[in-house]
Subunit: 403 residues, 2 copies
């Protein structure tokens, strides 16, 4: 077993957690020898030898002593530069930057292959839940049908406060930010982009197919109204922000991120607060459920530690689904059943429903329940985002002609 | 990637599942070339080419074409002979025989090391939940504090029927057997031995230490009375058969299998019917919860398939905890808080409590709640098993002098 000399990029909430966790784990055979920060003068939550700190990326990237780069910074462009440079130099990387990975995974997979160097990123996907590793290693066959879950701790925390504790949305959001669950830019969490990026990464390891984030319908929770919550309560369901990738036929799968009405008989119904929960469904094993802390400094850092320790044993992802299995194609030609609450605008002037099942109008609010193509939602998404309306998925078996 | 030529031992519920699952998975690069059964004339649930069947173990063990043995038979002695012979011949094995593994793991680990040949057995531990693989690969550091769970689907099914559906114990047991959840010998399930064997295997991968099954306190559910169920219902808790291994200090851990009062705020509270659920607790990641089908033909078989496919990539357990970490020692010198319901016999003539906290007596039944050493329970276990009494753990933080 070799010893790891680590160059760490980023010393915010997660970076400091990584520093703590590696120090705690006496047997990690790993040592952080350099930490690159953007502002050397910024006060830190943990005490650290000042000689470890630098603000010059080259001090890590050009340091021949360093044999592992750990990257947990916020800026996706900088993160991509760091990861790419390091891999091209032949130095393996552990990364937690989901936005960067979701954008650049195909190129980074190609570089890994060419250079024979490893990039691990289990921490990018569900904090402490080992989703990527399990999809890659354990569910590495073609029996997988669906991965579905609550992938964002912050928005789930907000929904829990609003739903179970009757708190106002704004106050719940503030609390999530105070507790450090929320990303710097809250729209990442509440508009569903954080979940989306994780879903893109998960799909590469679940089915072997990469789909660019901008091709995927993503709708968040920022426009939720009291009337939506009331409606869900009356129906005995909760509203959760759910990301899912589902095989709809032998050759096709679909994926999207949107609020969903979740009944009490579903595993994710009881995933509350800042927790994440993922359901993996397969042809023979039915449903597996994994549950754990999806946000926060130490849970994410312990996931980074698992990737760091995997490097002690020269572990790398083999991208088994991509390399060995028949990859299904992405389709948006599937029918969803959705709830749309709207004010003012007549929603039917924007969205073309295949079939309207229910329609309700009052002075307070209006809603419509109907069947609609996912492709129609994608085509109209810019117009949807401008309006005072709220969309939620009502899960059904997919009404796909292929199915 | 090589192609696997599999010799399968056992063609009961699980063996037939393995046959089905491998046939379903088009990309497994694996083929069953021989199936050894004890009775060639027994009718089978699935159709199979008769030329595949044999009743002579040598047809597999001495077959140079076969490069993987899959062993899912019930008889622990036969299983040990098969696995040992195959490993000594240099042929890797996938095994599902928990009783055999729990007894012989140290010797089998030694043979793997000497011969450089792999033995995989994730299916032995929680049906479709990948506990062993995750402990070995993902929680491969010294931050792990506890693994606790419901590891036996059959006894959990019975408790669910009795508890939630007000069914009689005997009828619930019969139903479990009819549904194929129960082991052939029901005492395996209901007396806690099945959970015990799994716990022994899990502990090797959780903490690196092997403890022989007969050193571990194991108490089952066969003596449960209506009054125990009534008591638990009044307190708002469920009774679950729980197996656990817990670090009680830096140097020591303890482990046991017994019924436990589980409150609604615990993850395992909602693990009902034939499901298994495992909580992994660590210093930084808090609690992870994994949940899935723990019994049945296809869930177990899909776990076997994962092990089979791992062999395509030459995967083997590295026994990381055993080889690289400071192993803690097993102790029974810890204090538990337990509930004992008894009739006739005065329980205090048998068990020496450190402290009695509550005592209740009536014409119907009596119970005592008190603190007791685990070592005392082990010392008296034979006398306990003869009596009409029921013991349940009331979880507390361990009152250990080391702690």
């Amino acid at each position: 077993m070799s010893n790891l000399k680590i160059g760490l990029f980023g010393f915010g909430v997660v970076g400091q957690g990584v520093y703590e966790v590696i120090r705690k784990s006496k047997n990690a055979h790993a040592e952080i020898v350099k930490i690159c920060v953007s502002d050397l003068k910024k006060p830190r939550g943990v005490e650290v030898d000042p000689s470890l700190l630098t603000d010059r990326a080259e001090d890590i990237l050009n340091n021949p002593e360093i044999n592992l780069v750990v990257e947990v910074i916020n800026n996706a462009e900088d993160a991509f530069h760091i990861v790419k440079t390091s891999l091209l130099n032949g130095v393996p990387v552990v990364s937690g930057s989901k936005a960067m990975l979701a954008q650049h995974l195909p190129e980074l997979i190609e570089i890994q292959k060419q250079k024979g160097v490893a990039l691990l990123y289990d921490a990018s996907s569900c904090g402490s839940i080992p989703v990527i590793r399990n999809l890659e290693e354990y569910y590495d066959n073609d029996l997988l049908l669906e991965v579905k879950g609550i992938l964002n701790g912050s928005s789930n925390y907000i929904l829990s406060r609003v739903f179970d504790h009757h708190e106002a949305y704004e106050s719940a959001l503030r609390k999530a930010q105070e507790l450090g669950f929320a990303e710097k830019d809250p729209s990442f969490d509440i508009e569903g982009y954080d979940s989306l990026f994780k879903l893109v990464i998960i799909t590469v390891h679940a089915l072997g197919t990469y789909v660019a984030p901008d091709k995927i319908f993503t709708y968040g929770i920022s426009t939720i109204h009291d009337s939506d919550i009331l409606y869900a309560r009356e129906k005995g369901v909760k509203i959760k922000l759910v990301a899912q990738v589902v095989k709809v036929s032998e050759e096709h799968f679909t994926m999207f991120v949107m609020p969903e009405f979740v009944g009490p008989n579903k595993y994710i119904y009881s995933v509350d607060d800042e927790y994440n929960g993922v359901v993996i469904r397969g042809e023979c094993y039915d449903r597996q459920f994994m549950f754990g802390k999806g946000a926060g400094s130490l849970p994410t850092a312990s996931s980074i530690l698992s990737d760091v320790m995997a490097r002690l044993h020269d572990y790398r992802y083999e991208y088994k689904k991509q390399n060995y299995l028949q990859k299904p194609d992405y389709t948006t030609d599937i029918t969803l059943k959705i709830y749309v609450r709207y004010s003012e605008t007549n929603i039917r002037h924007i969205l073309k429903f295949d079939r309207v099942l229910e329609q309700y109008m009052s002075d307070e609010s209006n809603y419509i329940i109907g069947e609609i193509k996912l492709s129609e939602l994608i085509a109209k998404r810019n117009r949807l985002h401008e309006k005072d309306l709220f969309i939620a998925n009502i899960p059904i078996f997919f009404l796909n002609k292929d199915n």
